[in-house]
Amino acid sequence: MWRIRAFEEKASELFARGKISGLLHLAIGQEATAVGVCGALQASDQVFSGHRPHAHAIAKGADIGRMFAELAGRRTGYCGGKGGSMHLAAPEVGFVTATGVVAGNLPLALGSALASQGRGKTDIAVAFFGDGAVQTGLFHECLNLASLWRLPVVLVCENNGRAEFSPLSAHTVVERLADHADVYGIPTETTDGNDLPGVRAAMDDAVDRARSGRGPSFLEFLTQRLRGHYEGDPTHRRNDAERTEAEASDPIGRYARLLQPMLGDTELEEIAVRARAAVELAAEEALAAPWPEEGDLLANVVAGS
């Protein structure tokens, strides 16, 4: 979690310094869901993320150096600078792709699950999405398909209570988003997304269900975003009360307090320090990496191009 937090804080700093351009969506405060969910997976499981993908990629084992390079549009980035933050992809570690289209990754995850099922494999697929995706038609179509065909997929809804810029209440009258999945007979769980052990436990059940051919699950993790919708979001305001509350529920702090008796403060501090150091180094290397060349531009539109 510290690795993710450090990565995103660094990304935020680089963005402010103009070293990174484009739309940058951070998940600071949502680390527990990424770590808890991906921790329950095996390397060959397939993860599909959305426009807030950094935490998921790192949790699935992506290299932060190549991630920084991608954010900075360098040739050494995972996508050679063609994807950027929103289209991060590291299929080699099972982080298949991210999409800038809300809910756009849901059917992709279903398809991956269908392929695994059709080939008699036990690999499962996971789709991360925010509460905003729940109001899309694609979400409804995907619930139906996942349930109909008992696909080995886990639908992970990170409900941070805000769809893009507005509170969830402005987007739907449905209070418990998991109710949508209940309608389709999909097992659901709604739980505290800032509690790492809780997230992990819920995910373990879902993974077991999917791997053993008992079909999809819908997990709704209640969490919060400590940043705006995207870096530089002028509408992002929080009063002090909200801020203190948010910081109290900061998943890293909570997990640290849990480990404190076993590890002790110095060890815990060490973890944070090591994470920051690794991130600094990775960022430095990434920014020193070469820009893409003209020849790269026309490559990979279609195979062999």
Binding site: S21, T136, A163, P234, T235, W291, E294
Partner: protein
């Protein structure tokens, strides 16, 4: 006046001029810092605004239905790419309804989107789908490039009984231009000659007009007098203005931000090649966004889009008959 201010002014006039005008959507000024300017308008007319969920298919369709029922909604799709979610309602319903009903039913609707390369938008947020819309009969398409035009054209669009696509560009928001207090609605199908010249005609719309004008200055210094034709509306298209200019200059460069294949440029070249073959002293050139998805990385992004430098270079090539 700033273009961004003109957009807000256009919306204000629409809302104040006709109570049937309601605004659906909140990103008329994209994610730019100007965003908050629209907010004041929303606060003044809370009951005339609707903030939809992230469900383009549903709320754009709702806009069409509302128009059928007698409202004159202005629906915002934010980034052009999101119109793909609503294609079924825009191109299968809105564009066809008047025709399918044999003229019984009209759809007085305006759909706004911000298109094109915006800087780091990458492949999923840098689309210019207007050529695809143009290939679908039944939609009027406006492509303003000047603060005065956006106000005048939007007034006409709101008054029109047809579905109108309002093509905007976030990079226009920072541009400035003279705006008279008493702007009249601008009739559709009337191009504006943004710069006169007799050596070469440049056809450009939306943001590309600004870049072409900048290029024209450079070329002027080299003694190449460029005429810049801004169609202002693609549907209906002022073919005469284009043909008149080409008849004068004998040379045409089409600058467009759509992809080249089957883009706006293709249609313009075809029209001129069919109707003014004899007037041409040199082959027409197209300068468009290259036929690759728009890459994220800045240097690559600049390489795919039509830049001032590339316009100057292409213009020289046409004049030299290269």
């Amino acid at each position: 006046m700033l273009y961004a201010e003109a957009v807000v002014e256009a919306l204000r006039r629409s809302v104040e001029g006709d109570d049937r005008v309601h605004l659906m959507g909140q990103y008329f000024l994209g994610l730019t810092p100007y965003r908050t300017m629209v907010g004041d308008l929303y606060r003044e007319y809370p009951d005339r605004v609707y903030f939809p969920p992230i469900a383009e298919l549903g709320y754009v369709g709702a806009g069409i239905g509302a128009a059928i029922a007698g409202l004159r909604p202005i629906v915002d799709c934010a980034t052009a790419s999101f119109t793909f979610q609503a294609f079924a309602q825009i191109l299968n319903e809105a564009a066809n309804i008047h025709y399918m009903s044999g003229g019984q039913t009209s759809v007085p609707l305006v759909i706004h989107y911000n298109h094109g390369v915006r800087g780091g938008g990458a492949a999923q947020h840098s689309h210019s789908p207007q050529a695809m819309m143009w290939n679908t009969p039944g939609l009027e398409i406006i492509t303003p490039s000047h603060p005065a035009d956006v106000i005048g054209l939007v007034q006409t669009a709101v008054a029109s009984d047809n579905p109108t696509i309002w093509v905007d560009h976030v990079r226009l928001f920072d541009t400035e231009g003279e705006v008279a207090d008493d702007i009249e609605p601008i009739p559709f199908g009337q191009a504006s000659i943004r710069r006169e010249g007799d050596d070469l005609t440049i056809f450009a719309s939306s943001w590309m007009v600004c870049r072409s004008l900048e290029a024209a200055e450079t070329l002027g210094a080299e003694g190449i007098n460029v005429e810049v034709v801004d169609p202002r509306t693609l549907v209906p298209l002022d073919e005469e203005a284009i043909l008149r200019s080409v008849a004068k200059t004998g040379r045409l460069l089409v600058v467009d931000e759509c992809h080249q294949r089957c883009g706006v440029g293709s249609e313009i070249v075809a029209v001129v090649a069919e109707q003014a073959h004899g007037d041409l002293v040199a082959p027409i050139r197209r300068l468009t966004t290259l036929d690759v998805p728009v890459p994220f990385s800045a240097p690559m992004e600049e390489f795919v889009e039509p830049t001032v430098g590339k316009i100057v270079e292409a213009a020289r090539a046409v004049v030299d008959g290269r």
